[in-house]
């Protein structure tokens, strides 16, 4: 395989990771809490796609809105259970409540679907397109297309609509947003819904090529966390770029060494980044505000 081929494969995987990281950073911004059930919610989206695919033999592209709607509701449920009762406690409490949610989800998957990996139907159809000397699967192209469309949509909603302004206002300063009449609880619940819907779509996209299995979400939560940290805490564009960097690193490096060593190298490079740039790759070095 050529290097270019590897990079393209990495970008296709990165598109799905970007959606995962995007949902994660939404929730981080709105609540300043890390949602560690996020990876498990990606798996939930994958399982929903598997289930829907078994009910109705349609391409996943058609079922995506249904997956997103179901996951939106799941996200609000997660917020009601794991976030709102603990909103006034230190952020590490929410970290743990979402971890516990994740444990419940993982074992729910185990009971419902068994320990084996499952695959969802393809986005449109399976097959490979040849572009010059490069092979791209239709699934990868579709993933890229869906991710690009959703990221663009997210940008328009955030920057151009009243809902987006409310979301940003709540993320930036909750008390101030409340003072100008925004119902911040509703906005936060909606943020959990949106973030989880994005996670669900990402799961449905990943579930064809990379399968879903009960414990598959843990590493995705970690990747989302890493993406948001190296992209600069809270930065939406940074999260997308961070996700792409992780996936390209994984695909390119694991072509030359084993997957385990590639994962190890990913963490070692992360630690080196921290050592030389404690503020993250894109973060600006600012003195702490006092």
């Amino acid at each position: 395989m050529t290097f270019l081929q590897l990079v393209i494969n990495g970008v296709a995987l990165g598109a799905a990771y970007a959606l995962v990281a995007l949902g994660f950073v939404f929730i981080v911004n709105a609540t300043s809490a890390v949602n560690f059930a996020h990876g498990d919610l990606v798996m939930a989206g994958g399982y929903v796609a598997v289930g829907l695919g078994a009910l109705a033999p349609l391409p996943i592209l058609v079922l995506l809105p249904v997956v997103a709607a179901i996951m939106f509701a799941v996200g609000i449920a997660v917020a009601l259970v794991a976030y709102f009762p603990l909103a006034n406690r230190p952020p590490s409490t929410v970290f743990i409540s979402t971890l516990l949610c994740g444990i419940v989800l993982q074992n729910l998957f185990l009971v419902l679907f068994g320990p084996q990996a499952r695959a969802a139907p393809p986005l449109i159809k399976s097959g490979i397109v040849h572009l010059g000397g490069i092979e791209i699967s239709i699934q990868a192209l579709g993933t890229l297309g869906v991710a690009a469309a959703l990221i663009a949509l997210q940008y328009v909603v955030f920057m151009r609509t009243q809902i987006g302004r409310r979301l940003r206002a709540t993320a930036q300063d909750r008390q101030m947003a409340q003072a100008v009449g925004i119902r911040t609880s509703a906005v936060i619940a909606a943020t959990f819904g949106f973030g989880t819907a994005l996670a669900g779509v990402a799961g449905a996209l990943l579930a064809n090529q990379f399968f879903v299995y009960p414990t598959g979400g843990i590493s995705l939560s970690v990747y989302a966390y890493i993406a948001v940290v190296i992209g600069g805490w809270g930065s939406i564009a940074g999260a997308v770029i961070g996700a792409l960097m992780i996936s390209i690193f994984q695909v390119v490096v694991s072509a030359y060494v084993s997957y385990a060593v590639a994962t190890g190298l990913l963490y070692v490079s992360l630690l080196l980044i921290f050592f030389f740039r404690p503020q993250g790759i894109f973060g600006e070095l600012v003195q702490r505000r006092v």
Binding site: V34, V81, A82, P85, L86, R89, S92, T93, F95, I96, S97, L99, L100, C101, I103, V104, Q106, N107, L108, L110, V111, I218, V222, Y225, I226, V229, W233, A260, V261, T263, G264, Y267, V268, L270, L271, F274, F275, P278, Q279, G280, E284, V286, Q287, R288, V290
Partner: protein, 607 residues
């Protein structure tokens, strides 16, 4: 003795402990003994985690890694080299502690999420090493055949002796944790967790406190891992797993983040929850997660926190003064470090200091000087650089050019805690107090950096902590000086804003400073409170203390300051007697944005 027993929640905890011991001695089956042993091992792990997570307030995700390393060190040394327990156990404590020492310095500099992720990364690298380096670690299978504990020929082999041995270690670990956290040293952790800048400005070496907490947590984790290896006779990569980390976090949060009893309660409850739910077979982890989540929501301060709150709800809060405060006369004001000594002139000087944040110039060649016993007001519109200047003086920011001199020392690049120990105290615009601690203890923390004596002293102090007693006496005098002695035993969280302000000023005063910098001390106070506070601050000056007050409120300053300095856009635009500065055209223009035909800046609050 009876009053000791009835204080806090000691009685129910002791009864619970007695019940558990009775169960272990008379009723427990061999299987129960094993489960109770596991409780002890997890309690040890959690006790260690409380140092970094509970006391230092940093969400470390490498506690399971330290546990795993401890297990592997014991496993490798015992199975491959046949070394005895008295060698393997100390090595298992030293190994993780050494790793913590090596990674601690760079990693602890990172801010919250970056720190968490870095510790997670370290854990995952170690896990991969354990799996890949199979010649030494046994790869995914791990190492089997780890012998039982044997000390000088005595084998600790049967389940009952293992149980007592493990819990004996836990008891020692509890004692050590108690020594570290009970006295003045332990109170320092509370403020550091609340706000690191405030802690540093009182002379606490925050980096050192965090570092020692991290190393202690690693040592405890290693000890727990070693015991686990002896109890189950195997070490495998599971010992390093993220799942174990999640369990440890859950136990800590559910038991209580900073309480020793919380570690034991959390570990015992979580281990038993899993045992009870095993009958549910496939559903047991779902039930476990749900119940743990329910406990977390129902008792957000942990089980021990819930018990303490229940006690306060049922019996009210004990507001008895500590015995030191009730005996003898009211102690004297805090030690004024060598006020009588000849002082350099000026006491505090800022020369041509400049600081820019990116493209924004916050300070642009500021120079000023304060003499001993002088009360100086620092005014200027919002964003003119007043607080930034205070941050540079107190060492929280480092300036890019210029020099700060204090008591003839060049403190330009000195760390905040060293400047504070030299005798420069400050308060903040936003109040940083520890809500759970009493007013007295909040003020007493001011002495922790100056004469707290550090970690080793704290560990070696048995009986009464005389440093804490001395600190409380000084705190009492400081509280009295600010007129808040009546609230001294109240927890700070329940006090009105004006009182909290005064607690903060009292805390800065209790360091016994030569110079005190007050950042908007009158903000949010009513007129009566302002007059009272001005009166008290004036008395600081009369005692020979230099006071620099940042304020917008010119009425407040008029009653207080002998001299005003006005900053605008990072430059000193006026300096001198208050009336003269108020008449200065540049000052009026800076404040009101008008031409200078307004005769004098009105004596009203501009905002």
């Amino acid at each position: 003795m009876a009053s000791w027993l009835l204080a806090g929640i000691r009685l129910p905890l002791l009864l619970g402990a007695a019940a558990l011991i009775g169960y272990a001695v008379f009723f427990a089956s061999p299987y129960d003994l094993r489960v109770l042993t596991l409780c002890g091992i997890y309690a040890l792990l959690v006790l260690g985690f409380q140092f970094i997570f509970g006391h230092a307030g940093a969400v470390s995700l490498s506690q399971a890694t330290f546990f795993g390393i401890g297990g592997y060190v014991t496993g490798i040394l015992a199975t491959r080299y046949g070394l005895p327990f008295l060698v393997t156990f100390p090595s298992s404590i030293a190994g993780p502690a050494l790793l913590a020492v090596i990674v601690g310095v760079p990693v602890l500099k990172l801010e919250e999420h970056y720190f968490s992720l870095a510790t997670l990364g370290i854990g995952l690298v170690v896990l991969l090493l354990a799996i890949q380096w199979s010649d030494v670690t046994g790869g995914t299978n791990g190492l089997a055949g780890i012998p039982a504990i044997e000390i000088a020929g005595f084998a600790v082999a049967d389940r009952r002796s293992v149980l007592w041995f493990v819990w004996g270690v836990v008891a020692l670990a509890c004692l050590l944790a108690h020594q570290v956290t009970r006295g003045l040293h332990g109170r320092a952790y509370h403020l550091m967790r609340e706000n690191r800048e405030a802690a540093a400005s009182l002379g606490l070496n925050v980096a050192e406190l965090r570092f020692s907490a991290f190393v202690l947590s690693a040592a405890y984790g290693g000890a727990a891992g070693a015991l686990m290896a002896h109890v189950i006779h195997v070490v495998s990569p599971e010992n390093l797993d993220l799942t174990l980390m999640v369990t440890c976090l859950t136990m800590t949060v559910i038991g209580g983040r900073t309480r020793i009893a919380g570690a034991i309660l959390g570990a015992t409850l979580i281990v038993y929850l899993r045992e009870w739910f095993r009958v549910l077979e496939n559903y047991y982890m779902i039930a476990y997660g749900t119940v743990a989540l329910a406990v977390l929501i129902a008792a957000p301060y942990g089980l021990v926190g819930a018990l303490e709150r229940l006690r306060v709800f049922l019996f009210g809060r004990s507001t008895a003064k500590p015995p030191v405060m009730t005996t003898g006369a009211l102690p004297a004001a805090p030690r004024q470090s060598s006020v009588a000594a000849p002082t350099p002139e000026p006491l505090l000087a800022v020369d041509d200091v400049a600081l820019a944040f990116g493209g924004v110039t916050a300070l642009d060649g500021v120079s000023l000087a304060c003499r001993q016993g002088e009360i100086v007001g620092l005014i200027g519109p919002n964003g003119s650089g007043k607080t930034t200047l205070l941050n540079v003086m107190s060492g929280l920011y480092s300036c890019q050019a210029g020099r700060v001199t204090f008591l003839a020392h060049d403190i330009t690049a000195a760390p905040a805690y060293a400047i504070a120990r030299l005798g420069l105290a400050r308060t903040f615009q936003h109040i940083h107090l520890v809500d759970e601690l009493s007013v007295l203890d909040n003020i007493a923390v001011a002495r922790a950096g100056i004469d707290g004596g550090g970690l080793l002293r704290a560990i070696g102090t048995f009986g009464r902590d005389h440093r804490l007693d001395a600190a409380r006496r000084i705190a009492w005098a400081a509280a009295d000086r600010l007129g808040i002695a009546a609230f001294a035993m109240e927890p700070c969280g329940s006090l009105p804003y004006g009182t909290r302000r005064r607690v903060e000023v009292a805390r800065a005063f209790a360091t016994g400073p030569r110079v005190i910098l007050l950042d908007e001390p009158a903000a949010g106070l009513n007129e009566q409170e302002q007059i009272d506070l001005a009166e008290r601050i004036r008395s600081f000056g009369a005692d020979g203390m230099t006071v620099l007050v940042v304020e917008h409120n010119l009425v407040f300053l008029a009653a207080l300051a002998q001299r005003l300095i006005c900053l605008d856009r990072g430059k000193v635009i006026a300096s001198g007697l208050p009336e003269a500065v108020r008449r200065e055209p540049a000052v009026i223009e800076a404040y009101l944005g008008l031409d200078a035909d307004v005769p004098e800046l009105a004596l009203t609050e501009p905002s």
